[in-house]
C-alpha cells in the first residue's frame, strides 16, 4: 500500500485516492483531428521512468493534483511534496562478512534502484 503525498492532507494510503493516470493535455475540441483526439483518449507513454500523473484525493480532501512519480521505484517528486517517499530513496549495504567482492559485483547490476 503506497503512501501518496497529497499536497493538502499529507501522505495518505493509496486506497484513499484514485489514480487517473498520466496527465494528458486536452486538445481543442473544435479543431482536434481524429488522431489527436484518439491519442488524448487512449495513448499513454507508460515509461519505466518519471511520469506526471493526476491523482484524486477521493477519501480525503477531494482535491485533484498532479505529481511526478517514478513508475519503476514509486518515488514521488515535483512539486516538492510533503511526506515524499519515506525511506526508500537510498539503499544501504547490509554488513556481512566474507563475500564482499560478490556483493560489490551485484551492486552495479541493473536491478539497483536509484
Amino acid at each position: 500500500m503506497l503512501l501518496v503525498p497529497c499536497p493538502h492532507c499529507g501522505p495518505r494510503n493509496q486506497s484513499d485516492l484514485r489514480l487517473l493516470g498520466e496527465a494528458v493535455p486536452r486538445p481543442n475540441p473544435n479543431t482536434a483531428t481524429r488522431k489527436e483526439w484518439g491519442d488524448y483518449l487512449y495513448l499513454r507513454e507508460n515509461p519505466a521512468d518519471w511520469v506526471t500523473e493526476t491523482w484524486y484525493c477521493r477519501v480525503g480532501c477531494r482535491q485533484y493534483f498532479t505529481v511526478e512519480r517514478h513508475q519503476a521505484t514509486n518515488e514521488f517528486r515535483n512539486p516538492p511534496l510533503p511526506g515524499d517517499k519515506v525511506g526508500n530513496s537510498t539503499y544501504t549495504t547490509i554488513t556481512v562478512g566474507s563475500s564482499g567482492s560478490q556483493r560489490g559485483a551485484n551492486a552495479n547490476s541493473e536491478e539497483q534502484p536509484s
Partner: protein, 959 residues
C-alpha cells in the same frame, strides 16, 4: 513402538498436570497441555503421520514444526492443519490425510508402483486430449487430489482485522529479534514483536539450559520495555512503504486476525530454517532433521527413536548427539560431513528405516537417522523489500544484499556468531531502527495536515554503523550421490527435476512451475535451495549462477477468512426503510441500497399508477447542490444540450457523455433560485458524476465559481405518479399545483405535510402526471406516511422498482447502463436533438460530431457513423418475454445483429414489450426481428414507430 514420552525434561513446555484427551486415527489418545498435535501423536508411539500426496507413501515427522510437510492432519471439520505447530486441545478428533482406506493400507499407494509414469508434467501431458474427456478425468483425479475434507456444514468462524502504526516491527522473536525489540523500545520507539512460534526464543528454546535462561531473560526485558508481543503470529508480507500483513493465530476472540501494519522501520529477524538432505530413502519415516529431534526431546519430552545414526555438518548436529544420548537413544554412529563422511541411503520397510548406508559402503542398523546439513535463509521479507539475496558457497547459504533504509536485518539471516554476538547485533539493529523510525515519524508528522505540529528540522537518516556478524564456513550439502525426495509436500524427487531439466525446463522459475517443486504448503522453506542445487548440478553450474526463485507473499499461509477479516458490506437505506419492511416490501439490493422491489404484486402496482395514484421511494436518486455564478457554464460542459437560458423554476433533462462520446449518465437539473441549482443523476452515477464535475472544475476551469455539494441523502425523494397525483399533492402543500400554476418541467419549493423546504418538480418517468418530492430526510417518513393517509380515498398504493421498470418501459424511457453499455454513444439513444454541436464545448463533443458526420475533417459527403439504434419492440407472441440480453440474429443464421436490452410483460397493453439495440438497417418501424431465446428457440419481434409504447404524444404526463 520406538517413540515414547520421556521423563521430565528440563526445558519441556508441556504441563503434565493437565492431560488432554483426543482421538488419533479413530483411536483414543492422550497428550498434555503445551503439546503440539504432532508431539502428542508421536509421544503415543506413532511414527507415521500421513501419506504423501502423489505416491501415498507413509511419512513421519521431518521438522516437527510449522513447516513439517509430512504432518498435515484433519482436525474435526478443519482440513490441512499443521500438526507440528498447532497446539493440542481437549477433545479434538484428529485424522491423517491422503489415506484411503486407512493410514496403514492405502490403495492409492499403487501409484508408487507406476511411479515412473507419474513423471513431472504427467497430468499436463496425459490428460490434455481429447477435450471432451476432461469431465471424466476430473472425476478420477479428484479422488487422488491431496488434502483433507471440507465440511460444508461448518459453522461460520469469526475473523478479525486491525490496523496499526508502530515505529518498529520486528519479524522474529529469536535472540537477535528480541534484543532488537528491547533496544528499539528502550530508545523510545513503539515496537511490535511478531513471533511465528508459540514461544519467544527461537532455537534457544530447544537448546541448553543456558540458552533457555537467556531466552527467558530477554523475554522479561522485552515485556518490561513495553514491547507489544504477538506470539503464534507471522509477518506474511511486506509491501510499499513498509505496509505489512501480519496474521495473528493466537487472538482470543477470532480464529485468525489479519493485522495491517504501517511500520516506520521493519527489522527482519526470521532466523534460519534447517534444510533436509536429498538421498535415497530420505522420506522413510525415521529420517528427521536435527532440529526436529531436539524439539521433540527438549520441548516435548518425546524420544524420537531407539537407535540413531547422526549425519552432521555443524554444531547443531553435534549438540543433537548429546541430546539423543540424554534421552536414552543409542547413537550407533556419527557421520561427520566435515571429515568427509556421507550417507547414501536408508533401507527398511515403507513404514520405518532399518539401516543406513554410508558412502564407504558400510551399513549401520538404526530406526532413526538425524541429518544436520545446513540452513536455508528465509529471505522472503527481504525479497519483498526489493532485495536479491546473494549465495555464498563458503557458508552454503544465501545472504541479504541490500535493503531499503527502513528495512534492517539481524540474526541468522544476517550472519553467524555466538548467541552473545547475535544479541549484540540485535541490540545495535534495534537502536538503529528506532533512530530511523524517528526520522520517518518526523517527516510523516511534519507533512500531515491534521497532525500535531512538530518542531525542528527533520533528523537525518541514521547511518548504519553496526558491527557486522561473521559467516561460519559450512560444507555445501544438498544431494548425496543418490536420488531422493526434494519436495516432500509435492512428492517431487531429484530424479524428476533432472529429467525435467533435460526436457528443457532448465530455468528455476520454469522448473518450479512444471514440476510443482516448492509450490506445496511448505512454499519453498525446506526445498527451494535443494531444488536450485539439483538444477545447478544438472546444468553444470553453481548455485549462485542459477539463482533462486523470488519469494513472494505470503511468507506463511493464512486462511481466506483472515484475508476477508470482518466483512464490511456497507448498506444504505432511505428514511422510509422501516415502513417498507413493515409493509411487506420484497427487498432488492441495488448497488449498496436496499430498496423495495415490490410490495407483493408489481402488475397491480403498475395498473394502480395508470388508474389512480402510486408513490415510490426514489431516495437513492443522485442529487447534487450546485451554487455559484458559473453553474450554467458547468452544465453546458457536462451535458450535451444547452443550459444558459434555464430560468428560475425550470427543470430540464440532459444526457452526459464521457470524452469518447459514450453515454455516462442522465437526469434532470432544476434551477431553484438565482444562484442555486439541484442536479439529479442516476442512483449508481451519483458518486462518479460528482467526481467528474469536480475534475472539470479543478483541473480545466479552476477560475469558475461553482460549489458542488452532494445532497443525495439530505432528501428523501418520493415520486407521486398517476392521474390522481395532483389531487393528492394539493391536499398536503401550500404550493399551488393546478396545471397552470405548476406546469410540466417546472420546480417549486414549499411546505409539504408541514415540512418546510421541500423541493417539488413536475416530471414524468412513468409517463403519468407526476410530481417528484425531495423532502428533508429527517422528515421523509413523516411525509410518506402523510401521503399514504391522505391518499387512502384516492386508491393510493406504494409501488416498487419492478413496477417502475415496467412503467418506464411502457413509456420507452431508456436506463443508462441497462439499455446503454460501455460502447453506446449518445446518438444511439435517438436523442440527437439534445446534442448541440453548435455549443463551443462539452464533454465528448468531437466524438459526437464525428458520429453525426459533422466533425473536424468531415465534409458534405460525410455521413453519420453506423451506430446501433435503440428501438422499441413488441414480441409477436405476447406470452414470450425474452430474457434481457437475448440476441437478435439475422434470420435463419446465428449472426448476431443486436440484443434485447430491456423486456417486460406490459399489463397496461397486454403485450410483451422491450427495448433493443439494432443496426440502422433494422431500425425502421415495422421491421421484423428474429430473437434467439436461451432455449435455442427463436421468436419474432416488431420494431415500433415510437420509443413510447404507451401514450406516445405524452398527453397524460402533461395533463
Amino acid at each position: 513402538m520406538t517413540l515414547r514420552r520421556l521423563p521430565q525434561q528440563a526445558g519441556e513446555v508441556i504441563d503434565r498436570s493437565q492431560p488432554l484427551k483426543f482421538t488419533w486415527n479413530g483411536k483414543p489418545a492422550v497428550g498434555y497441555q503445551g503439546d503440539t498435535i504432532a508431539s502428542a501423536i508421536a509421544a503415543g508411539g506413532n511414527r507415521i503421520m500421513s501419506r504423501s500426496m502423489k505416491y501415498h507413501r507413509p511419512r513421519g515427522l521431518l521438522t516437527a514444526d510449522f513447516w513439517d510437510p509430512n504432518a498435515f492432519v484433519q482436525v474435526d471439520d478443519e482440513p490441512n492443519v499443521r500438526s507440528g505447530h498447532r497446539q493440542l486441545t481437549d477433545g479434538i478428533d484428529v485424522s491423517p490425510q491422503n489415506v484411503w482406506p486407512s493410514l496403514d493400507y492405502d490403495i492409492k499407494a499403487a501409484n508408487q508402483l507406476v511411479g515412473r509414469f507419474l513423471s513431472p508434467g504427467f497430468y499436463y501431458k496425459t490428460f490434455i486430449h481429447p477435450q471432451k474427456l476432461w469431465p471424466a478425468y476430473e472425476k478420477v483425479l479428484a479422488q487422488f487430489a491431496p488434502g483433507g475434507t471440507v465440511d460444508y456444514e461448518s459453522e461460520m468462524a469469526y475473523f478479525d482485522k486491525r490496523y496499526t502504526h508502530p515505529d518498529v516491527v520486528v519479524a522474529g522473536g529469536g535472540p537477535a529479534g528480541m534484543a532488537a525489540a528491547i533496544a528499539a523500545a528502550e530508545a523510545g520507539a513503539s515496537v511490535l514483536l511478531v513471533e511465528h512460534e508459540h514461544y519467544l526464543g527461537g532455537h534457544l528454546r530447544y537448546g541448553t539450559e543456558e540458552d533457555r535462561a537467556l531466552a527467558n531473560g530477554l523475554e522479561v526485558a522485552a515485556r518490561a520495555a513495553g514491547v507489544e508481543i504477538l506470539l503464534d503470529s507471522t509477518v506474511t508480507g511486506r509491501y510499499e512503504d513498509n505496509w505489512l500483513g501480519i496474521v495473528q493465530r493466537s487472538h482470543p476472540l477470532a480464529s485468525e486476525r489479519l493485522i495491517k501494519a504501517r511500520a516506520k522501520t521493519l527489522i527482519v529477524a526470521a532466523g534460519l530454517i534447517e534444510r533436509p538432505y536429498v538421498f535415497e530413502g530420505n522420506d522413510r519415516p525415521g529420517v528427521m532433521l536435527a532440529s526436529a529431534a531436539r524439539r521433540l526431546i527438549n520441548m516435548y519430552a518425546v524420544q524420537p527413536g531407539e537407535r540413531a545414526v547422526v549425519f552432521t555438518a555443524n554444531e547443531s548436529g553435534d549438540q543433537t548427539v548429546a541430546d539423543l544420548e540424554r534421552a536414552g537413544v543409542t547413537v550407533a554412529k556419527v557421520v561427520d560431513a566435515r571429515a568427509g563422511g556421507n550417507i547414501v541411503s536408508t533401507e527398511g520397510s515403507q513404514k520405518a528405516i532399518e539401516s543406513v548406508t554410508m558412502a564407504d559402503g558400510t551399513s549401520v542398523d538404526a530406526d532413526l537417522l538425524i541429518t544436520a546439513v545446513g540452513w536455508t535463509a528465509p529471505t522472503s521479507l527481504l525479497n519483498m523489500s526489493g532485495d536479491r539475496p546473494i549465495y555464498d558457497p563458503s557458508a552454503a547459504r544465501f545472504f541479504p544484499d541490500r535493503t531499503p533504509d527502513n528495512v534492517l536485518v539481524t540474526g541468522g539471516l544476517a550472519g553467524d556468531g555466538t548467541v552473545d554476538q547475535l544479541v549484540e547485533h540485535g541490540r545495535e539493529t534495534g537502536t538503529l531502527a528506532a533512530a530511523r523510525a524517528a526520522a520517518v515519524a518526523h517527516r510523516l508528522q511534519a507533512s500531515t495536515a491534521r497532525a500535531t505540529p512538530v518542531d525542528g528540522a527533520e533528523p537525518a537518516m541514521a547511518a548504519d554503523t553496526r558491527n557486522p556478524l561473521g559467516r561460519d564456513a559450512h560444507p555445501e550439502l544438498y544431494r548425496s550421490t543418490t536420488h531422493g525426495i526434494v519436495d516432500y509436500s509435492e512428492d517431487v524427487g531429484s530424479k524428476d527435476l533432472v529429467s525435467a531439466t533435460k526436457e528443457g525446463y532448465d530455468s528455476v522459475e520454469l522448473l518450479k512451475r512444471y514440476t510443482t517443486a516448492t509450490m506445496g504448503p511448505a512454499q519453498g522453506k525446506l526445498e527451494t535451495v535443494n531444488t536450485v542445487a539439483v538444477l545447478a548440478e544438472a546444468r553444470g553450474e553453481t548455485i549462485a549462477e542459477v539463482g533462486t526463485t523470488i519469494w513472494r507473499p505470503p511468507y506463511a499461509p493464512l486462511t481466506l477468512g483472515a484475508l476477508a477479516g470482518r466483512i464490511f458490506e456497507p448498506e444504505r437505506v432511505s428514511s422510509v426503510h422501516s415502513w417498507h419492511v413493515a409493509n411487506g416490501a420484497k427487498p432488492i439490493l441495488a448497488g449498496q441500497w436496499i430498496r423495495p422491489e415490490h410490495y407483493g404484486n408489481p402488475e397491480a402496482e403498475v395498473m394502480n399508477v395508470r388508474e389512480n395514484v402510486g408513490i415510490i421511494d426514489v431516495s437513492p436518486l443522485g442529487k447534487l447542490d450546485l451554487q455559484g455564478a458559473d453553474v450554467p457554464k458547468l452544465l453546458n460542459l457536462l451535458y450535451t444540450n444547452k443550459w444558459s437560458k434555464l430560468d428560475v423554476g425550470a427543470v430540464r433533462y440532459g444526457i452526459m457523455c464521457a470524452e469518447d462520446g459514450v453515454v455516462m449518465d442522465d437526469g434532470v437539473t432544476g434551477r431553484l433560485g438565482e444562484n442555486r441549482w439541484l442536479m439529479t443523476t442516476t442512483s449508481s452515477g451519483a458518486g462518479s458524476v460528482w467526481e467528474w464535475a469536480e475534475n472539470w472544475l479543478q483541473t480545466a476551469h479552476p477560475d469558475w465559481d461553482v460549489h458542488i455539494t452532494p445532497v443525495t441523502t439530505s432528501y428523501t425523494s418520493i415520486n407521486i405518479a398517476g392521474p390522481k397525483s395532483r389531487e393528492l399533492l394539493s391536499r398536503l402543500t401550500d404550493v399551488p399545483v393546478d396545471a397552470d400554476s405548476f406546469e410540466y418541467m417546472r420546480v417549486r419549493t414549499g411546505t409539504v405535510a408541514g415540512v418546510a423546504d421541500c423541493v417539488m418538480w413536475r416530471i414524468g418517468f412513468t409517463g403519468e402526471l407526476s410530481f417528484e418530492l425531495h423532502v428533508p430526510a429527517g422528515y421523509g417518513l413523516h411525509v410518506w406516511e402523510a401521503l399514504m393517509a391522505e391518499g387512502a380515498d384516492l386508491g393510493i398504493k406504494p409501488f416498487g422498482l419492478e413496477a417502475q421498470r415496467v412503467l418506464r418501459l411502457e413509456k420507452g424511457h431508456f436506463i443508462v447502463g441497462q439499455d446503454t453499455d460501455g460502447l453506446t454513444k449518445a446518438p444511439t439513444t435517438g436523442l440527437q436533438p439534445l446534442i448541440k454541436l453548435d455549443k463551443d464545448d462539452f464533454a465528448g463533443k468531437p466524438e459526437l460530431a464525428w458520429a453525426m458526420g459533422q466533425g473536424v475533417g468531415d465534409d458534405e459527403s460525410s455521413s453519420a457513423i453506423d451506430l446501433p439504434v435503440l428501438v422499441s419492440v413488441q414480441m409477436t407472441d405476447s406470452s414470450i418475454v425474452p430474457p434481457e440480453a437475448s440476441q437478435i440474429v439475422r434470420p435463419k443464421t446465428n449472426e448476431i445483429l443486436g440484443r434485447i436490452t430491456s423486456s417486460r410483460y406490459s399489463p397496461t397493453l397486454k403485450a410483451s414489450i422491450g427495448l433493443a439495440q439494432v443496426p440502422p438497417a433494422y431500425a425502421a418501424s415495422g421491421t421484423q426481428l428474429t430473437v434467439l431465446l436461451t432455449s435455442g428457440e427463436r421468436t419474432t419481434a416488431t420494431v415500433q414507430a415510437h420509443h413510447a409504447h404507451f401514450d406516445p404524444d405524452g398527453l397524460r404526463l402533461r395533463a
